[in-house]
Amino acid sequence: MTSLIGLLVVVPMLAAAIGFVAGERQWVRDILTVGSLAGATAIAGILLAHVESEGTVVLRVGDWDPELGIVLVVDLMAALVLLVAMATILVVQLFAIGQRRTAWGADPQLSGPLLLVLTSGVVLAFLTGDLFTLFVAFELILVSSYVLLTHQGRRGQIRSGMTYVAMNLFASTLFLVGLAVVYASTGTVNLALLAQRIPELDDPLRWGIGLWFLVVFGTKAAIFPLFSWLPDSYPTAPTTITAVFAGLLTKIGVYVLIRFHVLTGMDDLGPLILTLSGLTMVIGVAGALAQDDVKRILSFHIISQIGYMLMGLGLFTLAGIAGAIVFLVHHIPVKTVLFLVGGLIEEREGTSALDKIGGLAQRQPLLAVLFALPALSLAGIPPFSGFVAKLALVDAGIEKVVVPIVVIALANSVLTLVSMVKIWTGVFWGSGDDESATPIRILRPGHRLMVGATAVALVASLAIAASFGPLWDLGERAAADLLDPSAYIEAVVS
């Protein structure tokens, strides 16, 4: 079982290396990308089943002592999120293959292999058992994302790429300095050992470390007030790339935030995190309401949704953290589907600006359905996955009697719905006569694959709602493992 963990990191990386030198032979790249992503999804599924029944699996790379060497740890939370992430990247890659012959597609020679490098980094970030490997994983993800974002070299991409790179580079540098502080004060960067040693530190030092990493991971997660890079850069990239970024990148920030802060027992930061989560929700949705472009509205929604996950973390209760994990699992496919639909709209109409499109519901009923279902889910309308995930969080908030955040979370749902209605009326309703005469395009051969991939992701997100009972149990067990890290420490150290 442990060798499978290693394969998860190595195979995408190797496939990427071959993909880069495959030159004009596109079929080689397609087989490599789809094959390795499908393989990674399968392995993630096997791991989840194994971890669910047998408990945490640990791979010690090179058989080094965990205090010195790299460990990869698959616990329940990691396996759960990993499976969703791998399946999502696979679907997006299928969409990309359908899209690549259009003007909106990313350059396939670069984007396929780079997506695999990103995948490798994502796996490493989810599974790593030490902070320094986490830093390396972040860099892998960020470097490939920098290139994916700017590789077409368009003006808007270069401009927003600068902000994106600058913010993230700064956060990475802070991460390094934080590592130095952690190593100097505890003598290790291994998360299991840190879970033992950080709670024993003096209060000021412990608080300092907690706040420092809240800033570092918060920048990656785009929480208030560190989100400015996100709504600027995401809409400029090709659809498939934005879809992966939107679905995954910020969520990795949230994931490590949950892992680090819960494992090291930073309960004292709870009220601060709750405050930030409320502000993140409100500012994100306010930004979405002000925009009038599909992709930009959706980008601001990422921020407001991050607030919900942060709310679960800020409660520092079993129900809260389980809620955050489940919300994470619900959010990744839903957000990806919405961006893919945004891409389909752009593909058909030549733009994603609301005032230039209209009446799409008549001409493209399938597209309307593909948008409406995840949009309702994101807003938290029953019976979709967004409703149950939000209900879990609100329930956890009421249980701990934190009234303000519960009120904000509920009000925020309404505002989310309002901005989704804005997209709906702008894009799908109306006669479509008032548009600036965009010719209705003939469907390309790849179109069916794009719609198919979107539909598959949508079905997956509906399946999450249908199987919410077992998912909630998994989330609760994962949260319990984080809150009482003795099993985690046991698995890693002994």
Binding site: L68, F132, F135, V136, E139, V143, Y146, V147, T150, G153, R155, I158, R159, S160, G161, M162, T163, V165, A166, L169, F170, T173, L176, V177, L179, A180, V181, Y183, A184, V189, D232, P235, A290, Q291, D292, D293, R296
Partner: protein
């Protein structure tokens, strides 16, 4: 951690932060290079007192420097080298497109802000 190292980290950080607040990408690049150095020095300082070079057999184990932070620092240097190249490429592309390497305003954002202001005036 010696006072000298602490001062070096502080100095590098302050100059680096000053430089990355600039709009010129080349200045930002220099700023990030300095910040990277600050982080590397901080990592070295985290390793405690310097000793013999950490190669087993050269000296008794308790006289060696701590090799782990040095390995961290080395990895960080390699990564920041690659990123410096990427930033240079970005600056070059920006210079091709606009003739300079300054970070531009987000036009879409400005437009929406102006529209909102105009609506406010009407009301």
């Amino acid at each position: 951690m010696s006072v000298t190292l602490a001062l070096v980290v502080g100095g590098l950080t302050s100059v680096g932060v000053y430089l990355i607040t600039s709009r010129s990408l080349t200045r930002m690049l220099l700023g990030f290079a300095l910040l990277g150095h600050a982080a590397v020095v901080a990592l070295l300082a985290a390793g405690g007192e310097a000793g013999e070079r950490p190669i087993s057999g050269d000296a008794p184990v308790d006289e060696l420097s701590d090799p782990l932070p040095q390995a961290f620092a080395l990895t960080a240097i390699v990564i920041s080298f690659g990123l410096t190249l990427f930033l240079l490429a970005l600056a070059r592309r920006q210079a091709q497109l606009t003739g300079d390497d300054l970070v531009e305003d987000d036009l879409e954002d400005r437009r929406i802000a102006l529209e909102t202001e105009a609506e406010g005036d009407d009301a």
